[in-house]
Symmetry: C2
Subunit: 653 residues, 2 copies
């Protein structure tokens, strides 16, 4: 949602005569952007646009001057877009604003009874926060560059401007190091990015107005480093990528550690041009430090009271190395320590309070708490999280402190994603976090957010993202059959378990990151549109005294489908080892259909259902909610609401 929208009257038709003209500043990057824009508009509409020499331009683009060669935090991203019935104008200080304006234009184009068209409108737009990022973890599961590239396309479409690339962790080191080649050779399963590939990727991101901030997580989360360079570690090893636990940490007491990091960070600082360099710094549990007598002696000699002091010492030395390479150090909450200079940036996974505390101390910060896409929250829950709206009213920030909150980043940790399903874990929910970080704070109506999210979700598919289509393929695989209609009915109403519940279940042993992720839990969407819409429908129906017959007909149609579904799905459940565990949920769904229809029937007849039946149904509904096979049946609660409503005799008709 742009910062300022003034609706006009009429609309601009988008047909074969559409063309784009460029005046003012332009360079090869902007020319490519215009080409991509025309290509995307062509895919959205199905109209092939051909060069029309001499024809009047439908959309006139004008940038004032060049953008920075290396994209800077806080660079002007504003634009002004005017659409009238006869043409459109897009003006911006630099091509960066043009990128955003073109993304907005694509969102305006709709199908109408008379053709494709963009409504007349005047938009003046700029972001609320200068740092709007997405973190993608490529360590736990390697994500190939073509998948990342289409996600960059998606980010650009929703005006995000930072890819936070989590490049190393316990499970894999994913960058070619020419200085220390055993990092990628021994620290990965052979899946890593070469430096040439990275340079190409960075150019791709720059073209789309996206900075790339690399993260090399140290001193913890660094087991993969120790396979090739065990001397960096605080414990004896040996180390394997498969080994579980997060105990391994670098030894902050040895000068050789810093000599290694000096060379490594110098190399990576040359490779990644961005001014910011993320060193992780999270979740050092200190067990290796506690167990190492030499480290304990060092701490004693330097008067360090605890492991936090030791990590602060590490970070101080690290910060000097980072600064020597003309980079600004970024790290997670844990790096915050009064001994560190105010130039560093703190990224908070702990919450706005933590961020506010940092801001009050003079540190810049980024919010990621509340934006963890891997927790499988509904979009509305992410959307409600605001970087500067403190949950605690007692915390207030003055305007200078507020300015230190640079924005935020959604996070896609990769324990449970593969190249096949990562898009559906990121999109379309990431679009609402992008809106939170771009649009004015007061834009927060949930219903209109969902409407925009669905519309953008369709456009993202035209960019090649597979957040919807991948599920179809995965359901076909599970079914072993072309007819997946009954399986789709079930998949439509379930969600994966939330937060770290899947993680906790799996923690009976270390997670096998090479295990297949081909089950129903891996295929279903994190948030069920069907269930949300059904719950809203039932809610409105019940609140309206169960009188709305059109609503009742809709509810009934849905319940009839569910009631019949288990019998339809049965042949697939029996035939496929991947679907067997879904049998109980499938049965529950049909039972809910049956119960809901019974409740409606009672309401129709004006005969309240027996309390005993409702109580029994309550037990069933609770069980039906799950989790079962890691899945939650999201329509159990609204059906139970119908059941409860059948207690009273409604003033029917």
């Amino acid at each position: 949602m742009p910062a300022n929208v003034q609706p006009g009257s009429g609309q601009l038709p988008i047909n074969a005569s559409f063309s784009v003209g460029v005046t003012g500043f332009h360079d090869a990057s902007l020319d490519r952007e215009v080409q991509r824009f025309v290509g995307q508009l062509s895919r959205q509409t199905g109209i092939p646009f051909w060069p029309k020499p001499g024809a009047a331009r439908t959309l006139q683009i004008h940038a004032e001057h060049r953008r920075e060669a290396v994209q800077k935090l806080g660079e002007d991203e504003s634009y002004e877009l005017t659409v009238t019935f006869s043409g459109a104008k897009l003006a911006a200080p630099t091509p960066l604003g043009i990128l955003h304006g073109l993304a907005t234009f694509l969102q305006l184009v709709q199908i109408t009874p008379n053709g494709f068209a963009a409504p007349a409108v005047t938009i003046r737009d700029q972001p609320r926060f200068p740092w709007r990022g997405l973190l993608i973890d490529v360590s736990r599961h390697f994500i190939p560059l073509d998948v990342l590239k289409r996600n960059l396309d998606g980010m650009a479409a929703v005006k995000m401007n930072v890819l936070h690339w989590h490049l190393s962790d316990d499970q894999g080191f994913r960058v070619e190091s020419k200085v220390f080649p055993k990092l990628h050779e021994m620290g990965s399963d052979g899946m890593y990015y070469t430096q040439a590939e990275i340079r190409d990727f960075l150019a791709y991101a720059h073209d789309r107005g996206i900075r790339v901030v690399p993260e090399f997580d140290i001193p913890g989360h660094s087991r993969s480093w120790f396979l090739g360079y065990p001397d960096l570690a605080s414990g004896p090893g040996p180390y394997t990528l498969e080994g579980g636990g997060i105990d391994p940490a670098m030894d902050p007491t040895r000068d050789t550690t810093y000599k290694f990091l000096e060379k490594f960070i110098a190399e990576m600082s040359r490779l990644f041009p961005d001014a910011y360099f993320h060193i992780g710094g999270d979740e050092v549990n200190g067990k290796q430090w506690d167990a190492n007598p030499q480290i304990q002696a060092f701490m004693h000699a330097h008067g360090m009271k605890n492991n936090q002091d030791l990590q602060a010492y590490f970070n101080q030395r690290l910060q000097k190395i980072v600064a020597k390479n003309r980079k600004i150090m970024v790290g997670w909450d844990e790096i915050l320590h009064p001994d560190l200079p105010k130039t560093i940036v703190v990224q908070s996974w702990r919450g706005q309070q933590s961020l506010a505390a940092a801001a009050k101390q003079g540190y810049s910060g980024l919010l990621s708490f509340g934006y963890y896409l891997d927790l499988m929250w509904p979009a509305a829950r992410h959307y409600a999280v605001d970087p500067v709206a403190m949950p605690d009213a007692a915390t207030t920030l003055n305007s200078e402190e507020q300015r230190r909150i640079l924005g935020g980043e959604s996070c896609q940790w990769a324990e449970w994603v593969t190249p096949e399903n990562i898009d559906s874990h990121i999109w379309p929910r990431n679009a609402v976090i992008a809106e939170r970080l771009w649009s004015p704070q007061e834009v927060k109506d949930v219903a209109s957010m969902y409407a925009r999210m669905n519309a953008v979700g369709l456009n993202l598919e035209w960019l090649g993202l597979t957040h919807r289509s991948a599920r179809t393929h995965m359901l076909h695989r599970m079914a072993g059959s072309a007819d997946i209609s009954a399986l789709r009915v079930l998949a439509d109403v379930v969600e994966p378990v939330k937060d770290y519940n899947r993680w906790d279940d799996a923690k009976q042993g270390p997670i096998d990151f090479h295990a297949p992720l081909n089950e129903l839990i891996d295929a279903v969407y994190p948030e069920s549109d069907v269930a949300r819409n059904f719950a809203n429908l039932v809610q409105a129906f019940v609140q309206g005294g169960c009188k709305d017959q059109a609503a009742e007909a809709q509810i009934r149609a849905q319940l009839v489908i569910w009631r019949a579904n288990h019998a339809k799905l049965q042949p697939l459940l029996v035939q496929s080892f991947l679907l067997q565990e879904a049998a109980p949920i499938s049965m529950y769904l049909s039972g809910l259909g049956e119960a809901g229809l019974h409740a409606l029937e009672s309401l129709d007849k004006g005969e309240p259902t027996p309390e005993k039946w409702r109580a029994a149904q309550h037990v069933v509904s609770t069980a039906a909610q799950g989790p079962e096979a890691g899945l939650l049946l999201m329509v159990a609660a609204p059906v139970q609401q119908l059941v409860e409503a059948s207690a009273s005799q409604p003033p029917h008709n």
Copy 2:
């Protein structure tokens, strides 16, 4: 279907420990093939396969010796595949057979109650015909190389071994010529393949066991040549790519024409290594020749009776040029003429009779009649066409003549396809033509063919083909909405008009090849599975005396959905200019649902429906069949069959 299949007992589990070993001959191309195979198996199963040094190999591959550097017609393609519960062996004379054996292995892998598995089996397999091709026209609509590459993947999956690349026609010349650059510069809309791209593409095809035969269609179908080189033409011009009609033809009477062709064919013969070179030669209507006094004088001077003689003269000279470049000339039916040497190959769009006539005269031939994918026939109709089974019993071929029939080619002419929907026009129907050309002649059961086609169709999606997914995108575009369930119900039961009916409608003016192809007719599948299955269901139900209650329930469920569908679809029909013209069909579909339910109700009650009603319904059904907006409603006939059945009182229960 392989030539010889011996079922074994048990099955080979496919799980994370699966691995492939290679003994005997191998080269880089075979190594890449094994990698692709493992990647495809991984996509099909969702299992990531990791190298397991030292582990026993699940699938042992053994090739005897190298294949030809330039793939030859008739090269040995046989293989032997043995699967037992404990492992599999694939042996072949050359990697060409290995390619086919791996494709078969992928077809064997299924989901079972206990995991993925391949059934135990011994297969000895080789093709029936050595030339099994697909023609893709890239002139009318340019098809980019990435789209062609995924179609090569699809061809390899169904063991087709020739891509017939129709590279030039009236509407566009698609190859970079360094000798005559105005061919691609002026003869195309800027969309053509560079020679470097073509070399890369040919290597891609070779890796997949596919020969690429280029076609440059002359002396007719050559308008695009004349934009840059008008002196080649028989008429005065000027020529444009947009201009309609197929009158323009090369001037066969001028030596300069042959000098040009000598240089051009020499250039293209270097670029394309295949031994065969296709010169088109079809549909010269001779109007330009008739109108050119100089050509008439030439014919008179050389005693030529008609334009056929003139074209034969042209082809004789052309054949010498082709032969000089060590290529074998291929052309359409029209090139057949006793003056031409027996070495040429005739491709028949006219029929098996024409092919047989050629074979009797000693010419080799290929069948394409009956395999035109752009005619929108159902798969079963293509499947029934056999290259050597003469429709006329009087025509018999001895075994030597039969051997001259090298195989056949399906044809995807590109008047009505774009990169977006071409896959769905080719697949999965092309798979049944591939089977016709590979499998023994007696493999022709239609029901089992459809079962195999559907299974292969799913696997093809894992290769990246979009024959199913493109429709979803296109329906979303037309709907402008995420919920396309009602639109899908309609799209599922319609087919585009057949043969040249769309063409004929459009012929009110010349076809605009730059017009959008984004209507419902462009999105729907050429053959409706839903309608075919419904028709089979109704057929069996009626033939069984309308007694099968399970079948009746299935029919009823379908009819209920159709009856309700128009009301559901109405909001989209109103909102979208691309759907408005589908409103009548949508109404018809709901009417058919209503009528079918009425017929079932009468059958249930044992009360015959009134004859007047059935007669009225007959009129409606006939109208409902269409075409309407270029679409046929494929369930009108089976519903009418139900209606007719309701005339008699069934022996119900």
